[in-house]
């Protein structure tokens, strides 16, 4: 990551608290959001990685988080399914409401939460099992035993991930034998096999060639019908191609958030403009 010295650090307090009023640069006016994030801050030990972020994520839309690498996109994304809980030096302040209820409340069953909020990782991570078992893993975990139902789920998920035709003859081969792009689509299929409401995607195409990237972008458009997608990407072209809304993060802060076309064509913040015109990052 390269951050030119000329880049002005946003002055403290420039980002108003959500409660303080509506800032058009941060609030595109989303109705019935699936997630509402309120004043979220995150520390790795003493180091603060996220600063007081408030944002609302629309239902059945694709929201993209962009920003230079190291700005906290992945960290932020992992907050939505509480995957940061695995790290022992993380402290979180603020709140995230999912369907109006805090995901941090003690009443929340974390395994159920994670079933409803799936995730696809930057580096594809199929289990060292067969293709079939990879997809069936989630449903099995959640109690599906019936072989026929599992077969159905596997086929439906693979079709939804546009992988079925390529692998239907070798469902019982090891998933590690698939190409990188196929593995990533397998991970998407695996994520939607448990019928989540939301799929979080953390730079799903960063390790893929353009053709595989195009297939996944296409796939995301199809998935939008049924799922809310949040994608982290460092590629502005990708964000502009696929997303409906885009949030720009910089140094752990939410700088600007709005409808994608508007943000790319007419950014409201100078930092955003600098970033999308490629003057840094």
């Amino acid at each position: 990551m390269t951050t030119p010295d000329s880049m002005p650090v946003p002055p403290k307090g420039a980002v108003p608290d959500a409660a303080a009023g509506r800032d058009p640069a941060l609030d595109p006016g989303i109705e019935d959001p699936i997630f509402s994030v309120h004043g979220l801050s995150l520390h790795y030990g003493d180091k603060q990685a996220l600063h007081d972020i408030s944002i609302e994520i629309p239902r059945n839309r694709i929201t993209a988080f962009i920003g230079p690498s190291g700005c906290g996109k992945s960290t932020f994304l992992r907050c939505f399914n509480r995957l940061n809980d695995l790290l022992d030096n993380v402290t979180i302040r603020g709140d995230i409401l999912f369907e109006g209820r805090s995901i941090f409340s003690p009443e929340v069953e974390i395994n159920t939460l994670r079933r409803r909020i799936g995730m696809v990782f930057q580096k594809s991570n199929p289990f060292p099992k067969s293709i079939y078992e990879n997809i069936a893993y989630g449903p099995r975990i959640h109690g599906v035993r019936d072989r026929r139902r599992l077969d159905e789920i596997v086929e439906r998920s693979l079709r939804a991930a546009a992988l079925w035709d390529e692998v239907k003859d070798r469902l019982h081969d090891n998933a590690l034998g698939l190409s990188g792009g196929q593995q990533q689509r397998l991970c998407i299929a695996r994520a939607i096999a448990v019928e989540p409401d939301v799929v979080l995607l953390d730079e799903p195409c960063s390790a893929l060639d353009p053709l595989a990237t195009a297939r996944i972008e296409e796939l995301m458009q199809d998935l939008k019908e049924n799922y809310t997608l949040i994608i982290v990407t460092h590629s502005m072209q990708q964000a502009s191609r696929v997303s409906d809304y885009t949030a720009f993060l910089y140094l752990g802060r939410l700088i600007e958030y709005g409808v994608t076309e508007q943000l790319f064509i007419k950014p409201r913040k100078k930092e955003t403009e600098d970033y999308i015109t490629g003057r840094f990052g």
């Binding site: 995957l83 003690p106 994670r114 799936g118 289990f127 060292p128 975990i141 590690l176 448990v194």
Partner: protein, 756 residues
């Protein structure tokens, strides 16, 4: 090796002075690089060479075990008067005494190759008519006997007096004793037709079995007693008549040194065994080819039978439990020879013997190992032969000549069959696997079966691994997947220090402290198997019921502290309840109870003790390797599983465990290898009894402990010494095979996860 980086020395780089500086640094770096590479290669090759060297050394020590005997001519005597029926040779192979068919005893100097002296067998005892009618065949002992037509039997013993002349040369002076005449009432005037003679190792007892033409059988037993004060020698003779065989005088006779066992062969090839206290045979075998030669082996507990059809067989007198009389039982046969067996002569050193057939073929055999160690031609003229007392020479006699052969026969009692197969030893009711390197008596043979030691090795390994594998693997799983990192960072080094504990300390504690303790509280130990899991389940249930608020206050992975308290409490309770359980369930004493139930006595130092002590040595190794295997499972897989809503337990059992399985497998295998080779703990925590039993409450002896126990007792280069090296080789091979299999399996398993 990257060729491009090799710059030939002395090559000048073009470009003048500035280049030279860079050239020298490059050259120096190259030299350092080359030196480093050389050093690493030398180290690697050195290690391989050392291991191969050790292997080679062991192989060289083991190799002679399986070689045969070397027999080569040493000396010969030609004298037309010689026509031996029996021979005696001295310990140093310098002199021989030949009992010739003309009834004369001739003393032969083997070194000079001449007949020194001769005298009539009967000497001046009366004047028997003509030459002897029967001569006792070779017994291996310095005694000769002949029977005459007048019914008398004459016995003479031979001694070789040793002295040294001025130059320190050893002088051997053969002396033939005055004749002892044996006569049985009612046999006067009847021709003696068959004789056998034997003597005790000390020479103070003689036995003669004799058969007369009418079938009468007698056994004489003479005892010489020397009065310590007066020097007077008193000889007592005991004469025992035996019931005659059906079908006339025996075809062959053999007598034991004390006369208590006589074996007689009938004309139709049956063997009749006579025992002390009964004139009737206690057992008669079935018929066979006519017996042409018969002898007891040293110790008089096995007989070798040679037959007309060339068969050579070994028979044992077996006394069944509770019986007072023995059966004569066929034990084993050797490859038959082409001609009838003429003579069988026992070795005095071991259970070996030599055979001569009528075709002049000779052979050297060993009864227990069933080996034919040598076969050769003694010549058509050969009539009899005898093994030297030290079994290092073979004297063959024929009409007009004697030939002395040197015998080099270091390890006749070892074969793969005796090391691994069931062997029927003398005095045993049947074939068995036995390790007993030294016996209670001089003529007891070493029993060197490695099978009880292999069983012991596997037993110790088994009992320690059933403890160590679950604890090691599950502990590693817990530490790497569930434990709080801060606690893990403390636990791992502590467990690894456990591995550094000298095993002699563990063995010492196990043998002297743990063994008596377990004997007292074993019921408590059993109780922990029930109460500890119950306590953990109960603690889990309580934990789950706790208000979420309270539960969330304990950091993940530190719950273990609360659980540890429950486990400790359950163990304490178990041991407190031990006496109560012992009296309620085991009738007051667990060792007595287990003895009564299983029929096997409880040993204080038993396999359970070794399991615990060796488990303690193996757990840290398994833990450490398995922990690494668990920790090396990519975090992305774990995150992937958790992100699907799997619980930590589901993630561990369904993703982490299979992925880490190659590493866990090698952890188990490394533990296995350690347990197999472990010496000190088993040495100190068991009774080292080489028994074949998988029972947990008795002892055993492992290959490694056996080497430690026996090597101080094993003379350099001896059979035991080499057998111990062989067992070391076996241990070497065992670990090698286990490690190879482990590595192959691990590579296979790993292949499945290669792309992670």
């Amino acid at each position: 090796m990257p060729l491009a980086r090799r710059i030939p020395p002395g090559t000048r780089q073009p470009g003048g002075e500035p280049r030279r500086i860079r050239g020298t640094t490059a050259r120096r770096r190259l030299a350092a690089d080359r030196f480093g590479r050389w050093l690493v290669a030398a180290g690697g090759v050195g290690i391989i060479a050392t291991i191969l060297g050790i292997l080679l050394f062991i192989l060289i020590e083991v190799w002679p075990l399986f070689g045969g005997a070397r027999v080569e001519p040493l000396a010969g005597v030609r004298d037309a008067r010689l026509d031996p029926a029996a021979l005696v040779i001295d310990e140093y192979r310098t002199h021989a005494v030949s009992l010739d068919r003309d009834g004369r005893v001739r003393i032969v100097d083997l070194e000079r190759g001449v007949v020194d002296d001769e005298l009539p067998l009967a000497g001046d005892v009366g004047a028997p008519d003509g030459p002897p009618t029967a001569l006792a065949p070779v017994s291996g002992r310095p005694v000769v006997a002949g029977g005459f037509a007048d019914g008398r039997v004459v016995v003479r013993t031979v001694s070789f007096a040793i002295s040294f002349d001025d130059t320190g040369r050893r002088l051997v002076a053969p002396e033939v004793s005055a004749p002892t005449v044996l006569a049985a009432p009612g046999t006067e005037g009847r021709t003696v037709v068959r004789l056998a003679v034997a003597a005790s190792p000390a020479g103070d007892e003689l036995a003669v079995a004799a058969a007369w033409a009418d079938g009468t059988l007698h056994v004489f037993h003479t005892t010489r007693e020397e009065n310590d004060f007066t020097g007077e020698v008193e000889t007592s003779v005991e004469d025992r008549p035996l019931e005659p065989l059906a079908g006339g005088p025996p075809a062959a006779l053999a007598v034991s040194a004390r006369g208590e066992r006589v074996l007689a062969a009938t004309a139709d090839g049956r063997l009749a065994l006579y025992e002390a206290g009964d004139p009737r045979p206690s057992s008669v075998s079935g018929p066979g080819a006519p017996v042409t030669a018969l002898t007891w082996l040293v110790g008089d507990r096995a007989a070798v039978v040679g037959r007309k059809d060339g068969a050579i067989e070994v028979w044992f007198p077996i006394r069944d439990r509770g019986e007072t009389r023995s059966r004569i039982v066929f034990v084993r046969a050797f490859p038959p020879r082409d001609a009838p067996i003429a003579v069988l002569a026992p070795s005095l050193r071991n259970k070996g013997f030599v055979a001569l057939d009528r075709g002049g073929g000779a052979g050297l055999y060993h009864s227990t190992s069933r080996r034919t160690l040598w076969r050769g031609e003694a010549g058509e003229a050969a009539r009899t032969l005898v093994l030297a007392p030290r079994a290092d020479g073979l004297l063959v006699g024929g009409s007009g000549q004697l030939a002395l052969w040197r015998v080099d026969n270091p390890h006749p009692e070892i074969s793969l069959g005796t090391l691994f197969g069931k062997v029927w030893y003398e005095g045993y009711p049947g074939p068995a696997w036995v390790w007993q390197s030294t016996g209670g008596t001089d003529d007891a043979e070493p029993k060197l079966s490695l099978v009880p030691l292999l069983v012991g090795t596997l037993k110790g390994t088994f009992y320690s691994l059933i403890l160590a594998i679950p604890i090691g693997v599950l502990g590693a799983m817990y530490a790497s997947q569930f434990m709080h990192p801060r606690l893990r960072n403390a636990v791992k080094p502590v467990v690894e220090i456990m591995a550094a504990l000298p095993s002699v300390v563990l063995g010492f504690l196990a043998g002297l402290w743990l063994a008596p303790l377990i004997q007292r509280v074993f019921p408590g130990l059993l109780l922990t198997l029930v109460l500890v899991p119950l306590a953990v389940i109960a603690a889990g249930a309580v934990w789950h019921r706790l208000p979420a608020r309270l539960r969330h206050r304990v950091p993940d992975g530190l719950e273990v502290v609360a659980f540890a308290a429950a486990i400790v409490a359950a163990m304490w309770l178990s041991f407190e309840l031990s006496p109560w359980v012992e009296s309620m369930v085991f009738g007051g004493s667990f060792p007595d109870w287990i003895h009564a139930v299983s029929g096997i006595p409880y040993d204080q130092r038993n396999a359970v003790i070794v399991g615990i002590a060796m488990g303690f040595a193996v757990i840290p190794i398994i833990f450490s390797v398995a922990e690494d295997a668990f920790s090396n499972v990519p975090r992305t897989l774990i995150s992937g599983s958790l992100a699907l809503g799997a619980s930590r337990w589901q993630t561990v059992t369904r993703i982490v465990l299979p992925t880490a399985s190659p590493g866990i497998f090698s952890a188990v295998m490394i533990g296995f290898g350690r347990a197999i080779g472990e010496t000190m703990i088993v040495l100190m925590a068991t009774g080292n009894t080489p028994i074949m039993s998988w029972f947990p409450f008795n002892g055993f002896r492992t290959l490694s402990a056996n080497i430690a126990v026996e090597i101080p007792e094993a003379p350099y280069g001896g059979t035991l010494y080499r057998t111990l090296f062989f067992s070391a080789l076996l241990l070497f091979a065992l670990t090698f095979v286990i490690n190879t299999v482990a590595e192959v399996v691990r590579q296979r398993l790993r292949g499945r996860y290669a792309d992670l």
